[in-house]
Amino acid sequence: MAAAVFHLRRELATHWMAIQASFSRMRKEVQVKPPGPDDAFSVHPVDDVTFRIDVQPVAFFLPEKPSHGQPDLYVVMSGSLTVIRDESAYPTNWLTTSYATRVGYFKVRSGRQENTLRHVFGVHYDHDEELPGHPVFHSQMSSQRQLVGGLTSHFRLPSQITDDIPTWLLGNVRIPTAQMDPFSVITQLGADHLCGDGRDAANRELTKLRAACDFVRGRADSLPFLNAGIAPQCYRSTHWYTRS
């Protein structure tokens, strides 16, 4: 077990560096915080082969759209990813057992109230393999204003939120998604905010970013109902609910 902790810590460090390098190459003005992997992640053994990776609030300063000249959007994420070590697994030795990811998007208000933040989007992603009515992988849009401390600890920003848009959204809508663990979300941030038409260099760099985020294998392989009948070929979310 102890040796596996070293392996996992090293992998996290290597991939966190690669992630930061990719964001920097996609757009040099982008900022990713904190730079140190020990400040971004902590590894906790659950048993001899299972480890929980806690993602401390990590923050990104990105353009809202790839076409925007300068970054104008702050994204903060926290969560966890639990993996088991399987030496025989391919192409990665780390298999997901569970995850939970919270993401908050913020912008600085301009104009007369310029010293406040607008919370423009919030979502949490998780999975449930047993509860009826829960798609196995899903998201729920909701206010993530509690993450603002994770943002202001990395950037000099006001902490007051004067506009919390997601709080008005219906929180119990469970939208089926892919496995959006913290590293999937990082890939999404690069794709959403830095890749687009005419940005070939950034699009090519996305391949490297994806590779840096691909050191864990998803949970779907291990779930019988996602591998029964037509489910593995169909991809419709109707197959993503446990059978009672």
Partner: protein, 355 residues
């Protein structure tokens, strides 16, 4: 580059220059040719320097004040400027100046309290540039994606490219020397090689080695294991297989991932979760193997119980506690993940030094 590789030493104090030359030659053991120049009143210094700087000059080291023999107006800074324009690595040495800790990519300062200590540092720098040259001259430069990949190749580990890219991310945009380099627009492959060696050598010597990340010295190893530098010196045999002998290795230096490999191989049976911090777990691995406790480093905040990180400004072990250190400042390269700034130093100097 034609052999032999040349090291040029410049000083107006001919006695010190002769002593320094002997100290350097003794350490080089024939692996290079040492030239000296003591500027005097009737010389045209620019012409003399141009005559000395041929293609095989690997490093120029100059005193800070060169006016002692009556050649007024010639200072080390002038030599540095001329050499940088030709992309020849140049270091300045002085009994007064100390090495600036700010990661300035192309500036090198050698501490010259004695000829011996100066020679030690000069030889490490000279041999470092020679090693980088040897590796890169055997590499297809057009296949490299940039200086970070070239630096990774020079270290013998292409996987380090991302980390090395982050080491340099803050530096290139602000460096005026690169402007003059770009202006040459040479298409000569030998010139391209010279430029790449110049850039990569400085990246490794000035930015990667001083700010601990993938490569660590003995003081950092001590901090990494929450113990003292003296204990780290005694552990040299323990970590021998992790030794780094690449470019610019000074004293005992280690690959951090190989240190981790050694620790991992000895860790079975210890439960990491019973230790408050991971560095304490690492120390316990070594202590169990040695059968004794390691000395605690001197820290008035924790009594040396914690550690894991190193502050290059105070040269002390620090930990992640808020009252001990801060994780980053604008001087620390992004990938130097074992480098933190001691809180007291940060609070005292941040408003003056632009952290």
């Amino acid at each position: 580059m034609t052999d032999p590789n040349v090291l040029l030493l410049i000083d107006d104090d001919s006695d010190f220059l002769a002593e320094l030359k002997e100290e350097v030659k003794r350490r080089l053991q024939g692996d290079g040719f040492v030239e000296t120049w003591s500027p005097s009143r009737d010389e045209k210094p620019r012409d003399v320097l141009d005559a000395y700087i041929q293609d095989n000059v690997v490093l120029v080291v100059t005193d800070d004040d060169l006016t002692g023999n009556g050649l007024t107006g010639l200072f080390g800074a002038t030599v540095v400027d001329w050499c940088q324009r030709k992309q020849v690595p140049v270091a300045i040495f002085s009994r007064r100046l100390t090495d600036d800790q700010r990661p300035d990519l192309f500036d090198m300062v050698v501490s010259a309290s004695t000829a011996g200590t100066a020679a030690e540092e000069i030889v490490v720098t000279f041999e470092g540039f020679v090693k980088v040259w040897e590796v890169l001259s055997g590499t297809s430069l057009t296949e490299l994606s940039g200086p970070a990949e070239a630096a990774a190749v020079a270290l013998g580990d292409p996987q380090l490219e991302s980390e090395l890219a982050l080491y340099t991310a803050k530096l290139f945009a602000a460096n005026s020397v690169l402007g003059s380099i770009g202006a040459t627009q040479s298409h000569d492959p030998d010139e391209h090689l010279r430029l790449l060696v110049y850039v990569v050598g400085h990246i490794l010597r000035n930015v990667v080695l001083p700010y601990p990340g993938p490569i660590i010295g003995e003081s950092v190893l001590g901090a990494y294991l929450c113990t003292t530098t003296e204990e780290a010196e005694r552990l040299s045999a323990f970590f021998e297989e992790a030794g780094y002998i690449g470019p610019f290795a000074a004293g005992r230096t280690y690959w951090r991932d190989k240190v981790d490999d050694i620790l991992a191989s000895l860790a079975e049976g210890l439960d990491e979760s019973t230790y408050e911090t991971f560095p304490q777990f690492c120390r316990a691995i070594v202590e169990r193997r040695l059968g004794r406790e390691l000395a605690r480093h001197e820290c008035e905040r924790c009594g040396g119980e914690y550690g894991g990180f190193f502050c290059p400004f105070t040269v002390r072990a620090v930990c992640r506690r808020d009252d001990c250190s801060v994780d980053t400042n604008s001087w620390i390269p992004q990938a130097a993940d074992l480098t933190r700034t001691e809180r007291e130093y940060f609070d005292e100097w941040q408003s003056f030094l632009g952290f």
